[in-house]
């Protein structure tokens, strides 16, 4: 198991205890409410809404870095455990059944989307950083397009110079037929999860295959091309990894706000028709 993934074991015991106690308390309270014929769904709904509101405050903390509001890492730990707790409360609230009403289904779907994107992001944040570290030189995400262009320019200059020097078209043909497309290629959205690097291996195999046609002077250029291909590989890994580490938040955060909005409407309707004073 990847060491970086083994974060559960690193979490302080008190967080486990707090989360466990909260879960027991919520389940116990739910049973008591049901046994005493109280409106358990209203209570669990209220708790769930409060939890989601609290979870959303983490984003607010990020907007106020100048205030001593505890470390963001503490907020994240609480966010993760409160997130798991909210899932339990959601299941209690829905009595382990998928809701029937349209609005309820919408709220449920948005909740699932928010929770699933959160779990996915949490997993990514532990899976991808070590992979990015091992792939090669760390690159700033915003500078990747600049590096991409620079690699292409360097490769073109190298190939042109090789052609001029040796009057052989082997490397030029290789560039036009295969390498140019490889350099243009953008990694797929979920490629960091797939691993493999099939395109990279294919282009390396093709370069190796043309070695037999190379002029002796071209061999050093081919070796340099290999380095640039490796550089492009690292560039793709860094780019795709960092892109995915950013993009999941573009699902998680809007979904959270949508959940707060739909949850408020759902809660208002539920209260209105519950007969509660």
């Amino acid at each position: 198991m990847d060491a970086a993934l083994n974060t559960l074991a690193r979490r302080p015991l008190r967080l486990w205890l707090a989360a466990g106690l909260a879960a027991v308390a919520v389940v116990g309270a739910h049973h008591v409410l049901r046994a005493t014929l109280r409106p358990a769904a209203l209570w669990t709904g209220g708790i769930l809404y409060a939890l989601v509101l609290g979870l959303a405050l983490f984003n607010g903390r990020k907007k106020l870095p100048f205030l001593p509001l505890a470390r963001a890492s503490t907020w994240l730990q609480i966010h993760v455990w409160a997130g798991w707790l909210s899932l339990l409360v959601f299941l209690l609230h829905t009595s382990w059944h998928w809701p029937h009403g349209r609005l309820e289904q919408m709220v449920g779907a948005v909740f699932v989307l928010t929770a699933a994107s959160g779990v996915f992001g949490w997993h990514l944040s532990r899976l991808l950083p070590p992979r990015l570290t091992r792939s090669g030189e760390p690159l700033t995400y915003e500078r990747v397009p600049e590096f991409r262009q620079a690699i292409r320019r360097q490769v073109e200059e190298l190939v042109r110079a090789a052609e001029k020097k040796t009057e052989s078209s082997t490397l030029g043909d290789f560039y036009l037929e295969h390498l140019s497309a490889y350099l243009d290629r953008q990694p797929y959205l979920l490629s960091p999860l797939r691993g493999g690097g099939r395109a990279h291996h294919a282009i390396m195999a093709r370069l190796e295959a043309i070695e037999r046609y190379l002029h002796p002077d071209e061999r050093a250029d081919a070796a340099r091309l290999r380095e640039w291909i490796e550089a492009k590989r690292n560039l793709d890994i860094q780019y795709a990894g960092q892109r995915l580490l950013r993009l999941w938040l573009f699902v998680h955060i809007p979904a959270t706000y949508a959940l707060l909005l739909l949850g408020a409407v759902h809660g208002w309707i539920a209260f209105s028709y519950s007969g509660a004073p």
């Binding site: 907007k63 870095p65 100048f66 991808l128 950083p129 570290t133 090669g136 590096f147 340099r224 380095e227």
Partner: protein, 591 residues
């Protein structure tokens, strides 16, 4: 792959002009290629040679490549000051000493208030002022309230006849009587402690009337001490009188000596310096060398296998402790201020009743200033006071055959690759080095945004830097123990905060000359164009060029809760580490 990416990072446009043309050709720089000042004329040098103390120096002792005339011509400059001009400020780092040629100066024995010296006074924001940054932060970055800044500059700095800007104390007769001062007259020397000892100036010195001073840079002082014995004697005597005893007093190993014994030790102690005072250039020149070449170019303070004829106390700077390993040098540790070298060999020699040679080499990293106590003096005066219990209490002493903790700070605690990396890049100089665990960092840039939000909309660091294992040393001011960036600041705008020790820049007195930025060996200081309250660029009225200010991480000195970058990291991936604290470093790496 590594080569390709590295070259890409070095220059987005990749090959440099020098590489394409087969390298830039320039004459090899010489010792005096860049003199201290251009304005020293032959007539002025003649006049200096004709008056004491230079007329008393035997010029024939100087080698032909370093004549006395050359030293005076290239390593000195004449400075003219008016009443109230601050010559040196307490706390500033200086690379020169002064001889009073005419007039006099007042040395403030008490510390003058920071504000009086043009220093930034650090005050924490209140909760309200912190919170109000939410709407008071300007939309444009680097907006300054220039009304105050320019006013302060106009009041506090003036161009003098010798073309160096002076900061002056207003109303000297009213201010100074409140403080204890001492007057120095023509012929006297000051500033030698900071110049030779790589320590901050110990006092503020203010011109008292029209005063002419000869400023001698550190290199010139070194030559004078080398080739003019009476000069060396004079400077060393001043050093002994003013600094040596207090340093020996602070050395735990000598804390059991009475005053008379300590004076005896002081009388025999030699003061030595290694490396370049302003070591940025020499460090950067090593960039293309291999790891082994770098080690071999470092000045040797003590060599493995040599007879241990002295105990070496590190007074300032850092030194590499290494041992020969097959055909290379293996770094075992790094020693900083207050550490000693050679004690275990002296103790072992005594135990074995035979000389045990140095088992390690000690090499200067940057500029190192050491005190050398002869082994005979140490054995006869100090050793009798060091009982096994006292040695144990100091964390020193011998454990069986293996001496422990006299020089080595638990070498096994740090991974050897990490240790070599930290020493080679001299990151050990940091008191608050920004370290990022890249196995945890999700590259979310929350740290960068937090820094920008707390610093005029512009982050004070770059989340990039060299990586070893899973540790990145980011481009952020490390608040160095040996802050070379402070050398040469003409207005003293960059200084160490007197309360918490951070290196800070006073925006009001920074003139944007870039001296600090080019002196920082780690490229962690940047010049940024500033804007006025309307968001428009501020430009120089004469040249229309943008007004720039030096900026760097200030460790959120005025923010509640400490560095915003660390607090903003959701994954506990960042820390500001004191690189002397090996225990912490090791524990943090192994979380």
């Amino acid at each position: 792959m590594a080569r390709a990416l590295a070259s890409l990072s070095r220059s987005p446009l990749l090959a440099t002009a020098g590489e394409q043309a087969g390298g830039l050709r320039i004459p090899r720089p010489q010792r005096w290629s860049v003199p201290f000042a251009d304005e020293m004329s032959d007539e002025q040098v003649d006049a200096l040679l004709a008056r004491p103390p230079f007329s008393l120096i035997d010029a024939s002792r100087f080698p032909p490549r370093l004549p006395l005339r050359g030293v005076l011509k290239n390593d000195t400059r004449l400075r003219l000051f008016q009443t109230g001009d601050i010559v040196v400020r307490e706390g500033d780092y200086g690379n020169s000493a002064f001889i009073i040629l005419s007039g006099s100066v007042q040395v403030a024995l008490d510390s003058l208030p920071a504000r009086l010296l043009g220093r930034r006074t650090s005050e924490k924001k209140t909760w309200w002022s912190s919170f109000s940054q939410l709407w008071t932060n300007h939309r444009e970055s680097e907006v300054r309230s220039l009304a105050t800044d320019t006013l302060e500059l106009a009041l506090r700095a003036r161009r003098s006849s010798d073309s160096h800007p002076h900061v002056f104390l207003q109303d000297l007769p009213r201010v100074m009587p409140a403080y204890k001062t001492v007057q120095l007259e023509a012929g006297e020397v000051f500033g030698e402690i900071a110049a030779l000892g790589r320590t901050p100036r110990t006092s503020t010195v203010i011109a008292d009337g029209n005063t002419e001073l000869l400023e001698i840079r550190w290199q010139g002082l070194r030559e004078l001490r080398l080739f003019a014995p009476q000069w060396k004697e004079h400077i060393d005597r001043l050093f002994r009188e003013r600094a040596l005893l207090s340093h020996l007093h602070e050395t735990p190993l000598l804390s059991f000596l009475d005053e008379a014994a300590l004076n005896q030790v002081a009388a025999q102690t030699q003061f030595e310096t290694y490396g370049h005072f302003d070591w940025t250039a020499s460090f950067q020149n090593l960039a293309g060398s291999s790891a082994q070449e770098r080690v071999l170019k470092e000045p040797v303070i003590a060599r493995e296998g040599d007879y241990p004829n002295s105990l070496i106390l590190l007074r300032t700077g850092f030194a590499r402790l290494s041992q020969t390993y097959n055909r290379g040098e293996r770094t075992l540790s790094y020693l900083g201020k207050g550490r000693c070298f050679g004690l275990e060999e002296i103790l072992l020699s005594r135990q074995a009743a035979a000389a045990v040679p140095f088992r390690y080499s000690l090499r200067a990293l940057g500029y190192v200033d050491v005190l050398v106590i002869p082994a005979t003096v140490f054995e006869s005066i100090v050793l009798p006071t060091l009982t096994p219990e006292r040695l144990k209490a100091l964390g020193l002493g011998l454990g069986g055959d293996a001496p422990a903790r006299t020089s080595l700070p638990e070498p096994d605690k740090l991974d050897p690759a990490l240790l070599e990396f930290l020493v080679e890049n001299r990151f050990i100089n940091g008191s608050a080095t920004m370290l990022i665990d890249v196995d945890r960092c999700t590259r979310c840039d929350d740290c960068v945004r937090a820094c920008a939000a707390t610093h005029d909309g512009n982050p004070r660091f770059i989340r990039q830097g060299p990586v070893v294992n899973h540790l990145m040393v980011a481009n952020a001011c490390m608040h160095c123990f040996d802050p070379v960036c402070m050398i040469g600041c003409p207005t003293g705008a960059i200084s160490r905060d007197s309360f918490e020790g951070q290196i800070v820049i006073n925006d009001g007195t920074c003139i944007g000359c870039g001296t600090c930025a080019s002196s920082c060996p780690y490229h962690n200081i940047h010049l940024v164009p500033v804007r006025d309250a309307t968001g428009a660029m501020v430009v120089d009225e004469a040249s229309q060029a943008p007004i720039v200010k030096a900026t760097k991480c200030d460790l959120c000195i005025d923010q509640l809760g400490g560095p915003a970058c660390v607090r903003a990291c959701p994954h506990d991936a960042m820390v500001r580490a004191d690189m002397r604290d090996v225990d912490f470093l090791s524990a943090w790496m192994q979380r």
